[in-house]
């Protein structure tokens, strides 16, 4: 079936963290995509782009889309973590029940 390399506690932690990560990072990605103002301070903007308004706006838009993609990539990585943790958790449960 597969190797068991996490104990029950670590796999449960991974499970909970993955669920939280997927939900929060997907939502953050959506908020970045619709360019929410609350996240304005959390986008990468170079110093030189802040000298003109149009430069600032385009840099901000780039930052928003870049971060949206990054959040979704991280959410995807957490989906993988969820699958792995879930598998480990299920294997741990099975072995303790079968005893």
């Amino acid at each position: 079936m597969g190797m068991k390399f996490c104990g029950p506690k670590l796999s449960l932690c991974g499970l909970v963290l993955s669920v939280w990560g997927i939900i929060q990072l997907t939502l953050m990605g959506v908020f970045y995509y619709i360019q929410a103002v609350a996240l304005l301070e959390d986008i990468p903007i170079d110093e030189e782009d802040t000298h003109t308004i149009s430069g600032f706006i385009s840099a901000a838009e780039n930052g928003y889309t870049q971060n949206a993609y990054n959040c979704w990539i991280a959410a995807l990585l957490y989906v993988i973590t969820l699958v792995v943790s879930g598998h480990q958790f299920w294997m741990n449960n099975r072995s303790s029940v079968s005893m």
């Binding site: 963290l17 939280w20 990560g21 929060q24 990072l25 929410a36 103002v37 609350a38 996240l39 304005l40 301070e41 959390d42 986008i43 990468p44 000298h51 003109t52 308004i53 870049q66 971060n67 993609y69 990054n70 959040c71 979704w72 990539i73 991280a74 995807l76 990585l77 957490y78």
Partner: protein, 839 residues
Amino acid sequence: MGSLFRSEEMTLCQLFLQSEAAYACVSELGELGLVQFRDLNPDVNAFQRKFVNEVRRCDEMERKLRYLEKEIRRDGIPMLEIPGECPEAPQPREMIDLEATFEKLENELREVNQNAEALKRNFLELTELKHILRKTQVFFDEMADPSREEEQVTLLGEEGLMAGGQALKLGFVAGVILRERIPAFERMLWRACRGNVFLRQAEIDTPLEDPSSSDQVFKSVFIIFFQGDQLKTRVKKICEGFRATLYPCPEAPADRREMAMGVMTRIEDLNTVLGQTQDHRHRVLVAAAKNIKNWFVKVRKIKAIYHTLNLFNLDVTQKCLIAECWVPALDLETIQLALRRGTERSGSSVPPILNRMETIEDPPTYNRTNKFTSAFQNLIYAYGVATYREVNPAPYTIITFPFLFAVMFGDLGHGALMAAFGFWMCYKEKPLQAKKIDSEIWTIFFGGRYIILLMGLFSMYTGLIYNDIFSKSLNIFGSSWRNNYNESDLLTNKLLQLNPDSKDYLQIPYPFGIDPVWQLAEANKIIFMNAYKMKISIIIGVFHMLFGVCLSLWNHIYFKRRISIYVEFIPQIMFLVLLFFYMVMLMFIKWVKYGPDADFLGSSDPEVIKTSAYCAPSILITFINMMLFKTDPNTRPECDDTMYPGQIGLQKFFVIVALMCVPVMLFGKPYFIMKEQKQRARQGHQTIEGTAENGAAGGAAAVAPAHHHDEDITEVFIHQAIHTIEYVLGSISHTASYLRLWALSLAHAQLAEVAWNMLLRKGLMSRDFEGGIFLYVVFAGWAAISVSILVLMEGLSAFLHTLRLHWVEFQSKFYAGEGYLFQPFSFEVILDSAGQGEE
């Protein structure tokens, strides 16, 4: 059905039980768990009580069961939980059967263990012998090897050579010793035998099992060569001292080979026997493990019943047992039914008698709670058990506790985490309870699962009001602030302010909660939130305390303390209302009256300016001036001195009336008590004169209480003075104490912001797609910090402060808390505590 409003009505009852029926009746009452027995033999020693023999037998049985349990646990056999209902307490005659079973099991187990130990010792000896035979083969080969002669020569020294020049006949001993002792052993041998003995040693690779302690130890094989008998005795003594086991080892290689084979066969035989012994032991233990929990319950129940029977009194005819017990008045029917069941079971003909007794003693406090309300009730009891029939603060605590917690914790994200945790615990209640997890921290969290769930839900609500989710704001309805600056202003200024008295603010407030624009106002967000949160804290605090004082009215009415209503309740309410509720009113007036006018934005008309934010007075300064009867000079001539006409006069009036309440609180009650005493003394004199002819004892009784009260009048004065000072000073300090609601919510918001800015932002500053992976890692760290610091630590802190606000600020207004808890005789409680105690 009792209510949670105040504690239940209790009656003291006398119970007459026939001796044969007593056991069964007490067993039924134990299952019911509604009766608290009093000890009618308090002076009697534990060893002189009636049923001491039975208790002793139960103790013996429990000891045997514990021994069995230890063995079962050592082998790792799972003990079956009791399926379905708990078994009932068995009849006294069944006790003998149980005792016989346990005795048999214990003896069998002890015998098996002893045999196993003897076998293991034998096994150890044979194994060591096997290792010796194997390793010493090498030594003897080396000895016979002529190339080794030089070593012999150096060891034996010059005399040996001189003596004959031929190889000397050496004796030897072989044995096994613990590896740690080898260096000291060698040194001792060298010194004691003056270097005339020759030690070879080799380590045994596999650890051997010590039979008595079951530890794995590492040993080494050694062989010592010497010449002569004296050295032999010396060597043997040293081996004895170092607890090395010596084995007879034959010299000739053929003999050794034969011995080795014999040892191998014997080892194999022993292994089989050992295996069979272990199997037998395992089978015995598995059979015992099926029933052991059942037996534990039964034995504990029997013991509990006999302990209770020891509290009873034997009546004169020796046929009947008398008990005194506290019983909730509403449950008398149920108890009668239980007693009838018990009598039927025991086959006795005489029904038990339950008699109500009158008493002046204070009954215990009993509140009927279910799994939801019991957690909140326990929070209240932790501070002090309610006096009998006092108003119970628990039903209000169910809402005010999570609410005050939420005011301090307000964050939608952290509240959601807490609510999810609470929801999981409540949803999986039955399976989690059945698991019986050992950890004390888990027991605390699980016991408060409903509190945690409510705190989480309320925190989500206040998180929406503060518009704070993990330190970011949600813009659901669209902000009411607009940016009207042009490009050049934006490019040349670092910070710009939006003026609410202009087109920057749409004059229509954000529908629910704080406007999301404030999250971006890094310069004055905290100043704005401070003004809001401090006022909210004081408003909530004053209402909470007023509610507490109102609850004391119910206590006065119930305990028929009419005087207290006039000289305690009314002055207290007036003091609080005239001073602090007036301050709350000032806050509301300030919020409503001062602000921008939508039709005259930015106007310089003096009438408009008077109601603009420029003229809003400071509530704190106003209040201080009110108390000190002072008026400050007006620093802003465009503004009015007062918030409404007649303010100064009204404030003076309020302060004077409030101050007049203080002497009423101080002297009112003692004055009335003195009046009452004088009245009673006059009546007492009259009755004495009236009964002097009859010589009745009534006069003496009338004199006694008056005498009793006379002594207490100074105490009443002191008592009342303490209470008044406590209330008056407390009203100021407690009102300020509620500002912790502001302080903790500020701390929480700032911690959340720091966690986001310092941690999660680092993962959001990458320009390329590898930022996704970096964010994946950083998010895990941020999540760990959020849970451990913001949810756990801040949650615990807010919980503690809320508890303090309830215990001190709220309950000191009405709660006496001088009762004692109703602790009924209940098998459930006894079994739970016994189960926890042994773990």
